[in-house]
Amino acid sequence: MSSREADRKPRVKPGGTVATRRGIGASAGRIGTLAGTTFLQLLRMKTFYFLLIFSILVVVASTFNVLHHTGEQHLKLLKDVALGAMSLFTSLFAIVATALLIPSDLEDRTLQTILAKPVPRYDYILGKLCGVILVVAVSVVVMDLIFGAVLYAREEMMVAAELAGATESGGFAEEDLAVLEERLRSQGLNWNLQNAVAAIFLKSCVICAVTMLVSTIASTSLFTIIVGFVIFFIGHLQSVARDYWMHALDAGLWKRLFSGLVALIFPDFQIFNVVDGVVAGEVIPLGAMTRMAGLTILYVMVYSMVAYLVFADREL
């Protein structure tokens, strides 16, 4: 008790005022507090329930082989379904979860009580963004674990079944069996899959940042969600459209200008599109992943900076 008293003493100013930390630059403590509360908010809003839907989907896709695929095809399908669902769920979750944060703080006037404390507005934006990215990260890790476990279990079962079947029917040499197993295992659990999961996470970070920017301009969650979806689609389609326009022979100046403008404002989600390749067995080189991470950081920084500039001028 007395040692705690002694601990506290230096923090108390002569006026009886609890000393506050000195600088009012960005503070990791404040951002952490805001991020932690945001995490708790999304946790207690039970937003994590979507993970349950994901688990059911993966388990169903792994259990029922409706199309009577071979083992190899079935594993491939399982990966396709699971990674596709993970990508879609994470993106949608990122939009919705982010859109719930700032507009509801504004509406409830909770924001007034927060900013009436010595909290710079960039700390608030960064805290919210870190909180929602943390939630997304936890979701991705959970989905990855569920997916990994199911895929591994399925793979082991199939290898055992096929080997047993082949031995029973006879006529297979040792090497043939090894080739068979090798082929199955190539579609099973491997580290390259983590590249796809990482790409899914990085994409969601960009989605969170761009949705946060929208929410600093908008006044309702619904509007933010709608605009978030529109950006999501434009972000996916823009590179296709750009390629088309750029390569079309009659690409006029205005079309080039327009697609250039779109490319400048909207994120290009095509750069994160590695899931199909990974499922097909393409190995993503480290350099490509590093570049993807670099672009993500760039996008997140630019969008949060613009979000801050918009938000700094906002009247509450």
Binding site: T17, R21, I24, R30, L40, Q41, T113, A116, K117, P118
Partner: protein, 286 residues
């Protein structure tokens, strides 16, 4: 630069115009308003709805920008984040994170102010006791009544031991018992030497706690001064007697008239409906 001499609040020629978007016309919410609040003083800003009280407070806390003029807290301009170190704010009809418990709410705001861990724990216990919410500290705010929200809001405003608190309509929508608790708390703050700026359109409440009041109408200050000076009727005296006979009263009346004083009024004082309500409900709640 002695701290004693710096005003807790100084508002100097404040004007706030809300620019109307598109076809809506602009609203002048506050017009060249000036006022000062000394450290330790309780100041009441009174005026009808829409007169600019909340707008003035928001500018003071840096939540909105002034169109002209400047505001400062203990000499630090409101546009600077540092100005908010020494102030606690309770907005009008506040809402806090409903998913947090009372204790977590205070922890959240305390950490935002950078209060250290050990100090914060002790401070929260003290505050919960002060606002009488110890019993509800572990419940989420979702289940709090209006009066409880208002009190947790007051505790939140006090978490870093500020030297000034700004309360926007602290008793609006709260029942009389809850509203009296809040008044008692304000008096307690006054005793601790904390300056208070509060707004209200309920005049009796302001009358009970404020040292000084400003009456604001359509964004302009129309009257300002010490409460006693503003409301005492200097040439009248009140006498209150208990068990006086009709005969005695008659003699007093004669005496007064014989002594060149005008006899204005005599009758039984009435208790207010509020004190009647409080007397009847006291001790029955909780």
């Amino acid at each position: 630069m002695s701290e004693k001499k710096t005003a807790a609040v100084s508002i100097d020629g404040l004007t706030k115009v809300f620019r109307g978007a598109l076809a809506r016309e602009s609203v002048v919410a506050v017009k060249e308003l000036s006022l000062e609040v000394a450290p330790g003083e309780v100041y009441g800003l009174i005026g009808p709805n829409g007169s600019g009280k909340s707008t003035t407070m928001k500018v003071l806390l840096g939540l909105i920008r002034p169109s002209a003029g400047r505001t400062a807290i203990f000499g630090v301009d409101s546009t600077r984040v540092e100005s908010r170190r020494q102030v606690g704010f309770l907005p009008e009809n506040p809402y806090f994170y409903r998913h947090l418990t009372g204790r977590e709410t205070l922890q959240f705001y305390g950490r935002l102010c950078g209060v250290g861990r050990g100090a914060l724990r002790a401070r929260i216990d003290e505050l919960l006791e002060l606002v009488e919410l110890g019993h509800a500290a572990r419940r989420p705010l979702r289940g709090y009544s209006k009066g409880m929200l208002q009190r947790i809001g007051l505790a939140q405003a006090l978490v870093q031991e500020p030297r000034l608190v700004v309360l926007d309509e602290p008793t609006a929508g709260v029942d009389p018992a809850g509203s009296r608790k809040i008044r008692d708390l304000i008096l307690e703050l006054k005793q601790r030497g904390i300056a208070v700026v509060l707004s209200s359109h309920l005049l009796e409440q302001v009358q009970e706690v404020c040292d000084r009041v400003g009456i604001i109408f359509n964004g302009s200050m129309v009257q300002e001064g010490r409460l006693e000076d503003l409301i005492s009727i200097e040439n009248q005296t009140e006498i209150i007697l208990k068990n006086a006979s009709a005969d005695l009263l008659e003699r007093i009346r004669d005496l007064a008239e014989g002594a060149d004083a005008e006899f204005v009024k005599m009758g039984q004082p009435r208790t207010t409906l509020e004190s009647l309500f409080l007397r009847e409900t006291e001790g029955r709640e909780e």
